[in-house]
Every structure is written in structure tokens, then in C-alpha cells.
């Protein structure tokens, strides 16, 4: 109870409240503009937040992360272009509703479902906290190593059809984090005699290049366009009443969001898809799905909004990020010397509760904000794409240069920007590189730390949690193999799609 109050106290400061407002409302706007995702915004703001208190910086970034999906639903519904990649399925039912003249119903339903999902996710996080505080200390070096390894495997396997490319990029990420002076043996690794490589390749420089600069290059080289969304009229709170008729779908979708959000490498997209499938199978009108079914809309929005809170679980409890956005947030913790992991729940539990409250507040702020300002959003999303490209380029400079005032960093970042553009154009994923860098670093440190206590390789898995993780790794690999064989036999007809596109991130 004391910790709860201490957590609430952390938020009762003007700078934290301001960060919460800026983050959550900024996140909605960023999410609503197709072409700027939360990843771009968080990457740009990351270095600026280093000078803030940890709670201020984290609240702002969390605000962007948690609220961008609310905003992303607006263009998904109104112009059939998801604002963020995870709103893809929202456009399946949202846009047909707009075509039927029910844009207002679709938008208000999406907000209500998002709110339901968001709050459900946080409540689960709060309820799970005592369990986490109990389980987290059981994670020693070898368990964290195995969990990170599991994360890498899941990230690679999640990119079906491009597993070799995802594996190649994840390995490239792991390699990148080894460049520089080895902190334990003080030997140079892949520096080729260049002094600027001795300090290693900075994660934030890479993140800014791959997410922000590449997006700027992408928008600047593509033809200019200006999305045209029509204003919406009607009462926005109508969605709440309609949501109450579909409580079951919303709750199951949010639960799937929580479960899949906790597993590294899977996240919003899988959660959204599985809940959509569930909603369709259990619906009385499955034929309506894809043609403007409110249940489909609810399933996809409730699921994706439950993920941010759940994604904080492996990040806070084990220090393992499950996707790119939490990987970026990890660096904010590190900069402030707050190391997420089992100790966080013992030493900084007030910070953890503070973050929970911030998450609840941001959902309320965003929901209230959207009830009154949807039409403002329809104007904002009309910004021409090349103009956005210019702005992202200028903003990226602040991010890269403020880190350590280095022109070399700008050059490295520009190089990764070009790489990111190529990946986007090829419809290849960027996330494996970032997770490779972060999880690769964790694996190296933890494996080294575990070594002195290991006599035989079997000692690696002689503790219950380590064994469970190892069994999960084996099971996932076996299941993947089984699916491959089944697919081989079934010979499914192939069809092309852009749905997994990193362009919308």
C-alpha cells in the first residue's frame, strides 16, 4: 500500500503531468498521421528525454507508445490507411463502415474498444505485479540468457515467409553490438583500427537511422500525396453503449493482447489477428466480418491496445524487451542507471507503480481528448507526405547530434537510414536488427556471468525456470518444423500483400 501511494506521489509533479499530456496527446497525433509511427517519434525524442528525470522521460515515451494506436485507428477507418502497422485489421471493418456512412459509429467504437483494451491490460499488469515480484528474483543469469535467446528465436520465426532474411538481420544486429572494445577482456573487436569504432556502435544512432531517417528518405523519394479524410459528425460516446453489447469479444481480445504482449517477438500484430479470428468464429454473423462488422473492429482495437501494458512485463521484470519500442525504452532506464530486472521490483517498486498509474491516466486523457477532437485529427492527417519527410529529417538531427555532438554519429545514422529504406522498399523487417542488438548484448553478458557456475552443459537447465524456458525453445522449434511440413503438404496458393509492411511503422 505504501508503495502504491509512493507511486502515485511520483506522478503528482507538474513536469510529470506535463510529460503525460504531451506524450499522450502527441502520441495520438503521431499515430494518426500515416507515415509517422510511434517508433519514429520515440527514436527522435529519446536523446531529449535523457536529461529528464527517469519518471518524466519514461512517462512521455510511454504516453506515445500507449496512445499512438488510438490515433492510428482514425486513418484506418476513414481513409483505409492504417496510421500504425498494428491498426491494419481495424481498416478491414472500419473502412466498410465509413463507406456505409457509419464513420462516426466506427470511430467511437474503436475509441471505446481501445480504452477497454488499454485499461484491461493495465489491470492485469497491476494484478500480476505481486506474482512478478515473486517470480522475477528466480531469474538468474542463465534464465535471462535463455529468455533472451527465446526472444531472438521468436522474432525470427514470427516473420514467416522471410525467416532467412529475419534471421540474417537479427544476426547482423547481434554482430553490431559486439563491435568495439570488449568490456571484459579489453580487446578490440571489428574496429579495423578506427578509433570511433572503439566505443562501439550506439544503439540510439542505429535506431534513429533505421526508423526515423529511413522514413524521411522513404517519404522524400516517394511521390507526394495528401490523405483526404472527411470530417465526422455525431456523438462520440455512442460507442461505449455499443461496446457493452460486445463485452465478451472485447474482454477475450484484450486477454489475448495481454498474453501475446508478454511474449517477446510476437506483440500487437499476432494478438490482433488471433482475437479477430476468435471474434469471427464465435460471432452470430461471421459473414459480416470484413464488410463492416462492429465485432471485428472491437476485437482488433481491444487487442492491440492491451499490448503496451503487457509488453512492460518482460521489460520491467526481466529487462528483456519484446519489440522495438520497449527496446528503445530500455535505453532510457540504462541512461538513468535504473536497471530493469528482478531488482527493480525490490528496489524501485514505487517507480513501477508510478508507471502503472501513468498508463491508466494516459488512457483516460487520450479517450477524453479524442471524444472532442476527432475532426481536428482529420485535418492533421492531411499533411503532405514529402513535407513530413523534411520535418522528420530535421527532427532526426536533434536526436542523433544531441547524443554526443558527433558528426560521425550523423554519418553512421545516415548509413543506417539508407539500409532502413532498402529494407522498407523490400518489405523486409527492421525490428530483428534492433532486437538483435539489445538481446545480443544481454545474451553475451548473461552467458558470461553464468559460466563460472556451470560444470557441464546440463547445469544450464538444471533449475526449474531455466528448464521450462529450454523446453519452450525446443517446443517452438518443433512446432515451427511441424507447420512447415504441413504447409509443404497442403500447397496453399500464395497471395501477395503489404499488410506486414514496415512502412507504416
Amino acid at each position: 500500500m505504501e508503495n502504491l501511494i509512493a507511486g502515485a506521489e511520483m506522478l503528482a509533479r507538474w513536469d510529470v503531468v506535463l510529460a503525460l499530456f504531451v506524450g499522450s496527446i502527441g502520441g495520438v497525433i503521431i499515430g494518426a498521421i500515416p507515415g509517422v509511427g510511434p517508433a519514429v517519434a520515440i527514436a527522435i525524442l529519446l536523446p531529449a528525454t535523457f536529461s529528464f528525470d527517469p519518471i518524466v522521460g519514461l512517462t512521455m515515451l510511454l504516453g506515445i507508445y500507449g496512445s499512438s494506436m488510438y490515433g492510428g485507428a482514425i486513418p484506418a477507418i476513414l481513409i483505409n490507411t492504417p496510421g500504425t502497422a498494428v491498426n491494419a485489421l481495424t481498416s478491414y471493418d472500419g473502412y466498410p463502415m465509413t463507406q456505409r456512412g457509419e464513420a462516426h459509429r466506427a470511430v467511437s467504437l474503436a475509441y471505446s474498444a481501445s480504452f477497454w483494451g488499454g485499461i484491461f491490460g493495465i489491470l492485469c499488469l497491476i494484478l500480476l505485479s505481486p506474482v512478478l515480484a515473486l517470480v522475477a528474483p528466480m531469474f538468474g543469469s542463465r534464465e535471462i540468457f535463455l529468455a533472451a535467446l527465446l526472444g531472438i528465436i521468436l522474432v525470427i520465426l514470427a516473420h514467416r515467409g522471410q525467416i532467412f532474411a529475419a534471421g540474417l538481420l537479427a544476426m547482423f544486429g547481434i554482430f553490431l553490438q559486439t563491435v568495439g572494445l570488449d568490456a571484459v577482456t579489453y580487446t578490440q573487436r571489428y574496429t579495423f583500427g578506427y578509433s570511433f569504432l572503439s566505443s562501439g556502435i550506439n544503439l540510439i544512432v542505429v535506431v534513429l537511422g533505421l526508423f526515423a531517417l529511413s522514413q524521411a528518405f522513404f517519404l522524400l523519394t516517394a511521390p507526394d500525396s495528401s490523405p483526404d479524410a472527411k470530417p465526422v459528425s455525431g456523438k462520440m460516446n455512442a460507442g461505449i453503449k455499443e461496446l457493452m453489447k460486445h463485452k465478451r469479444v472485447a474482454t477475450v481480445a484484450a486477454s489475448l493482447g495481454v498474453i501475446l504482449g508478454m511474449i517477446p517477438g510476437t506483440g500487437e500484430f499476432t494478438a490482433q489477428f488471433m482475437s479477430y479470428t476468435y471474434a469471427q468464429k464465435s460471432s452470430k454473423a461471421p459473414e459480416e466480418f470484413g464488410k463492416g462488422s462492429p465485432e471485428g473492429l472491437i476485437a482488433s482495437e481491444a487487442a492491440n491496445n492491451a499490448v503496451p501494458a503487457a509488453a512492460m512485463i518482460p521489460l520491467l521484470a526481466l529487462g528483456i524487451p519484446g519489440e522495438a519500442l520497449t527496446a528503445m525504452m530500455l535505453s532510457v532506464f540504462y541512461v538513468h542507471n535504473v536497471i530493469p530486472g528482478p531488482q527493480l521490483f525490490q528496489n524501485n517498486i514505487d517507480l513501477v507503480y508510478g508507471l502503472y498509474f501513468a498508463l491508466i491516466l494516459l488512457n483516460v486523457i487520450v479517450f477524453v481528448f479524442l471524444l472532442f477532437s476527432t475532426n481536428l485529427m482529420t485535418k492533421i492527417i492531411r499533411i503532405p507526405t514529402r513535407f513530413l519527410g523534411v520535418m522528420i529529417l530535421i527532427l532526426s538531427f536533434v536526436g542523433v547530434y544531441s547524443l554526443r555532438n558527433s558528426l560521425t554519429d550523423c554519418m553512421i545514422s545516415a548509413g543506417f537510414g539508407v539500409l532502413g529504406l532498402i529494407l522498407k522498399r523490400l518489405n523486409l523487417p527492421i525490428v530483428p536488427i534492433i532486437l538483435g542488438m539489445v538481446l545480443g548484448g544481454i545474451m553475451e553478458v548473461k552467458l558470461r556471468a553464468a559460466m563460472p557456475r556451470l560444470k557441464t552443459p546440463f547445469d544450464m537447465i538444471d533449475r526449474p525456470i531455466a528448464f521450462i524456458l529450454f523446453a519452450m525453445i525446443c517446443l517452438i522449434l518443433l512446432l515451427h518444423l511441424r507447420t512447415l511440413i504441413k504447409e509443404w503438404r497442403a500447397h496453399q496458393p500464395e497471395e501477395d500483400h503489404d499488410i506486414h509492411d514496415t512502412q507504416t511503422r
Binding site: R160, A165, V184, T277, G290, F387, V400, C410, L428, M451
Partner: protein, 179 residues
């Protein structure tokens, strides 16, 4: 695109033109880096294998080369998609904007953040094809807004421009600190 999908089909990614060029380049990079393993990393005698500084570069680069080889094989065995070299040319033409970015970064310590940002924003807007007075003033004003938020308000660490040294005493300090 059909409306109803299986989980498998939704998670698949599909090839785009230029895939094979990218596959070749990455395989060459991976093999080159792997060939440098013994020169660029050390082996501490007496230490355990998993604790060696060479261990992780060796594992990651070997697997990278292996995945790259399979990716290339997949590309080579697939049907050719038209527009390969046009796509590669687009990648190369992106370097222009990378140079814009680096030049901007190089100029800031001399011309100051405010001046270089406004000028760069307007020039880049012109380069992107905007000619109307409204678009160009929007570019300049947005640039000014960015400077005010990041440098004036948030005091982000950016160097003060050398050009400010030539300003009169009263203004100089303000410009050095806030712009």
C-alpha cells in the same frame, strides 16, 4: 487481397524487385566480415569458449552468412520480378538525402542551429517540389518551432554557432544560449 486469411498467410512476407541484389550484397558483407574474424578479434588462452571475445562475433557472423546464403538461394530460385535495376537506382538516389543530412549536421556548429535549420528546411522543401509561398513559409515556421522546442525550451545539447561570436554583446549571449 482476400478479406479472410489464415495465420500463416498473414505472416508471410513477399519478395519485391531488387531482392536478389540485396541478398548478394549481404552475403558478401557477411563472408567478408567472417574472413576478418581472426584478425579483428582476440582469443584469450585459458578462458572458456563461451567467454571468449571472439565467441559472439563468430556465432553471429557464421549464422548471418548461413541465413544470407539461404536467402540468396530463395531469391535465385524464385521467379524474377521486373524492375530490379530501377529499384536499385532508387536506393542509390536516396544517398542524395543522406548527403543533405550530413551537410546540415556539418554546418550547424558554424552557422548556428536556428539559421541552418530554417535555411535547410526551406531548401529541402524546394528540393521536394514545393513552390507555393504557403508551403515554404510553413517549412520555415515549422523549423523555427522545432528550434524553439528543442533548443530554447528543452535546452537539448547542441553546439552554439560560431557565427554568433560576431553579434553585438547584448544579443550574443542570448543567441549562444537559446538558439
Amino acid at each position: 487481397m482476400s478479406r479472410v486469411k489464415t495465420l500463416q498467410s498473414l505472416f508471410k512476407r513477399y519478395r519485391r524487385p531488387g531482392d536478389i541484389v540485396f541478398a548478394w550484397v549481404l552475403l558478401i558483407v557477411a563472408v567478408f566480415l567472417l574472413s576478418q574474424l581472426f584478425e579483428q578479434t582476440a582469443y584469450k588462452s585459458g578462458g572458456k569458449l563461451f567467454s571468449q571475445p571472439r565467441f559472439w562475433p563468430a556465432v553471429s557472423l557464421s549464422l548471418m552468412a548461413l541465413f544470407a546464403a539461404f536467402h540468396l538461394l530463395g531469391s535465385a530460385l524464385s521467379e524474377r520480378i521486373e524492375g530490379r535495376w530501377a529499384e536499385v537506382w532508387l536506393w542509390v538516389s536516396t544517398l542524395e538525402y543522406a548527403v543533405w543530412f550530413i551537410v546540415y549536421a556539418a554546418i550547424v556548429p558554424y552557422a548556428g542551429y536556428l539559421l541552418s535549420t530554417v535555411v535547410f528546411s526551406v531548401l529541402l522543401a524546394l528540393r521536394s517540389g514545393y513552390r507555393s509561398r504557403m508551403a515554404l513559409s510553413a517549412a520555415a515556421l515549422s523549423a523555427l518551432g522545432i528550434v524553439l522546442i528543442f533548443k530554447t525550451l528543452l535546452q537539448v545539447k547542441l553546439p552554439a554557432g560560431q557565427v554568433y561570436e560576431y553579434l553585438p554583446d547584448g544579443i550574443r549571449q542570448i543567441m549562444l544560449t537559446y538558439f
